[in-house]
């Protein structure tokens, strides 16, 4: 079959010229890429490929152009002489390109390794620079942290000493109170029996004085027993806000609260927690009564409830005389009181401290002389009673 030779001729010649131009363009582009990123092994790989392709394109295209020209001008014998050399260079060139190509996977692995190492180096450098620039700051932070830890440890030791002291006094008080309670009961009983039959007003007055003081002694003994019997709290789910509300409503009826303003700031997001409501009421009652005494029955009591971390915080603030610095560390000690003799047993705050500790909470105090004191109670979000109830 006969075909026109011209399409073959033009495609061969122009194709060859284009091959040379494009392979040069590729090589130049790849060299430019390498210039921008000289350490990139993948770009170097592309440069090698382009070099191989340029060699291949030039040898092949030159061969083709020369061949077409020689055939057109009738020099087939010359072409036959050149042909083996042209073909050999051509074969060599594309085998070279193929050999480079086949190494792509290894080149890629090296590339990834280099990138990985470079990233590690950059990270290490950044870290070093950061450490260098922030050394003083880091040392300061660490020192502060250590100081904080040391102060926390000291605080913990203080609490432990307090707990041991309370425990020892508790045991002692328990024994003494128990021994005194029975004779006091007998004295009170006989006193009341005598009062019932006595007609002489002078004797009645004397007996009433005895009865009053015996009752006072019994109250002290009862406080001692309450203090020593740190029984396990009977916890149920209660709202702290409603307990405070109940206590404040109760104390307001007391005559000594006539000139005292009680201000309450209740947070609405306070959850119900498991507490022994009677004991917690006793704590609030003790603190409010103490505030009352500190203000000489005239001033403001501010009660605040908030959520803080995993705790409910209850602040009871008064505008009273405040606590002297030397007394701050002793106020939770049993029998420590600044009230006049006969006005207080010095057990209220100790008992309160014990109750709060038995609830897994904490009680703290801050005070300024002539300005007032703040007692902060922390009670944990405890829902153990619900779980226990569900298990039972």
């Amino acid at each position: 079959m006969t075909f026109s030779y011209l399409p073959l001729f033009f495609i061969d010649v122009f194709g060859s010229v284009l091959m040379i131009i494009l392979s040069f363009a590729c090589l130049l582009k790849s060299i430019r890429l390498r210039r921008n990123d000289p350490k990139n092994v993948l770009i170097s790989f592309l440069v090698w490929i382009c070099c191989g392709l340029l060699l291949f394109a030039v040898s092949r295209s030159c061969g083709h152009i020369v061949k077409q020209l020689l055939l057109v001008y009738g020099y087939q014998d010359i072409w036959e002489d050149i042909r083996p050399f042209s073909g050999s260079v051509n074969t060599f060139a594309f085998i070279l390109v193929a050999s480079i190509t086949i190494f792509f996977r290894q080149i890629w692995k090296i590339h990834i390794q280099v990138l990985d190492d470079r990233k590690k180096l950059v990270d290490a450098h950044k870290e070093l620079v950061f450490l260098n620039e922030n050394l003083e700051k880091l040392v300061r932070e660490r020192t502060l942290k250590l100081e904080k830890e040391a102060s926390q440890r000291a605080e913990l030791e203080k609490h432990m000493v307090q707990a041991e002291k309370l425990s020892a006094i508790g045991e002692l008080s328990s024994g003494v109170a128990h021994e005194i309670n029975n004779p006091l009961g007998i004295i009170l009983g006989y006193c009341q029996l005598l009062l019932r039959h006595e007609k002489d007003t002078q004797k009645i007055d004397d007996l009433k004085i005895i009865e009053k003081h015996v009752k006072s002694c019994k109250a002290i003994v009862q406080d001692l027993l309450n203090f020593s019997r740190s029984s396990k709290p009977l916890k149920k789910l209660y709202s702290i806000n409603s307990i405070i509300e109940e206590i404040t409503n109760y104390v307001k009826t007391h005559s000594s609260f006539e000139k005292i303003e009680i201000i309450k700031y209740f947070s609405n997001d306070i959850p119900e927690i498991c507490i022994d409501s009677e004991k917690i009421k006793q704590v609030f009652f003790n603190l409010i009564m103490n505030a009352n005494h500190a203000m000489n029955q005239n001033g403001k009591i501010i009660i605040k409830t908030t959520c803080e971390n995993e705790n409910i915080r209850i602040d009871i603030e008064d505008t009273g005389e405040g606590i002297k610095e030397e007394n701050i560390t002793r106020i939770f000690d049993p029998f420590f009181t600044t009230k006049p003799t006969g006005k207080g047993t010095g057990l209220g705050l100790s008992v309160s401290y014990g109750i709060i500790k038995n609830h897994g909470g904490d009680i703290k105090v801050s005070s300024s002389l002539k300005k007032g004191s703040v007692f902060s109670i922390y009670l944990p979000f405890d829902n153990s009673c619900i779980i226990n109830e569900a298990q039972n």
Binding site: F3, S4, D12, L22, N36, L71, N90, T91, A98
Partner: protein
């Protein structure tokens, strides 16, 4: 001393009385075309492998991957084409070509016009290898843009 003398005498005999050596194999005949065809097959498979690795490993997001893979595809097709052409031209004896000034006469031994057309169009292999280099250039250009981004 005796050893040195014997080595020297042997070397002298080899130099003075040379003869035909059969230790090196000759590479004449059709070996050239076989090497050339094997080279094309090697090139073809290396490009197939490169195309596959580019698909799974090339990290740059953009058109560079597509262009480089297209370049591989066209080079694979070109290799395929030239392997067939070399086979028809120089190995099979199926095609007989004669040419005058502006015409080319292609005759198939099996008298198959399909084979004659296939040979005629197969000879225009630049239709495959020029786009391959064009896509390689486009791929390199895209890498430059993507790296710039």
């Amino acid at each position: 001393m005796k050893k040195t003398a014997s080595v020297f005498i042997t070397a002298l005999i080899i130099i003075l009385f040379p003869d035909t050596s059969y230790s090196i194999q000759a590479h004449g005949g059709s070996e050239g075309i076989v090497v050339h065809q094997l080279g094309h097959i090697f090139f073809l498979f290396s490009l197939l492998a490169l195309g596959y690795w580019l698909k799974s490993k090339w990290a740059l997001k953009g058109k560079s991957k597509l262009y480089l893979r297209l370049s591989c595809l066209f080079l694979v097709l070109w290799n395929f084409d030239v392997i067939i052409m070399h086979f028809l031209d120089e190995q099979s004896g199926l095609i007989n070509v004669s040419r005058n000034a502006f015409d080319i006469c292609i005759r198939s031994a099996a008298n198959s016009h399909i084979l004659e057309y296939l040979y005629y169009f197969g000879k225009m292999d630049h239709i495959l290898c020029v786009p391959a280099l064009f896509f390689l250039y486009k791929g390199l250009k895209s890498i430059e843009t993507e790296k710039g981004d």
